[in-house]
């Protein structure tokens, strides 16, 4: 099963206008969802919509700005869950814009879609590797830990 959602959409408006509607919190609220977005890399924000019980979703998307390249590219994480800040689905939304003669071509890419069970495994793996690297570091720097076996 393909775990990528892609949409391509042409707007007969200049790229500056489209970019403005993709990155201005108030304007985004008019067509997407209410939010506290700021066009700053690392900024954490939320989109709020109605909950979906059948999807175990409380109506809040927890996001973080990952990349901004003005008039070209915008990416943010897009995580959600059943409530109280618990995350059971992680994904990433990326917008790319291309100026055309009579308007703007917009490419939307929504991917990742790691679910809770997979997240547990993924984080477990990450933790495992971190531990290994720490072990290696310890082995390489025995003096730092006061282990003077020499």
């Amino acid at each position: 099963m393909a775990k990528i959602i892609k949409h391509q959409y042409f707007f007969s408006h200049p790229i500056e206008t489209v970019w403005e509607y993709l990155t201005n919190s108030e304007l985004m609220g008019q067509w997407l969802m209410k939010n506290d977005f700021e066009p700053v890399v690392g900024h954490e924000f939320q989109f709020r919509t109605g909950g979906k019980a059948n999807l175990n979703f409380d109506g809040i998307f927890y996001c973080k700005v990952l990349e901004i390249d003005p008039l070209k590219k915008l990416a943010y994480s897009w995580n959600c869950g059943p409530g109280e800040g618990k995350i059971t689905l992680e994904s990433v939304v990326t917008w790319q814009l291309e100026a055309k003669e009579n308007g703007t071509e917009v490419f939307l890419d929504h991917r990742g879609f790691n679910q809770e069970e997979n997240l547990d495994m993924y984080h477990g793996l990450m933790h495992g590797w971190l531990e290994k690297f720490q072990n290696i570091e310890k082995l390489l720097n025995p003096a730092k830990d006061g282990n003077t076996n020499a």
Partner: protein, 86 residues
């Protein structure tokens, strides 16, 4: 794919692969941890079954977001056309 039709024991699964039984067992364990299959002990055998829940839920999410974006992009177009006539 072998598990899509019915449940199989780890031994019978192993017969389908050019891998040792312990190696197959290890892969099965990983798939179980990831929530893709479930393992049941029946007598002396361990039976593996594909867990469809995980797949179905993800599919529901993908369908939801696909329609979500289609309608939001339409919103944006309507909004742009209304506010900023060419």
């Amino acid at each position: 794919m072998l598990l899509s039709e019915d449940s199989l024991t780890i031994n019978s699964l192993a017969d389908n692969f050019d891998m040792s039984r312990p190696a197959v067992s290890k892969h099965v364990k990983i798939l179980e941890t990831a929530g893709f299959i479930s393992i049941k002990d029946l007598g002396r055998e361990r039976y593996c079954t594909l867990k469809k829940d995980g797949f179905d839920e993800l599919k529901a999410w993908l369908n939801y977001f696909d329609q979500f974006w289609a309608s939001k992009l339409k919103n944006l177009e309507t909004l742009l056309n209304k506010k900023l006539p060419n």
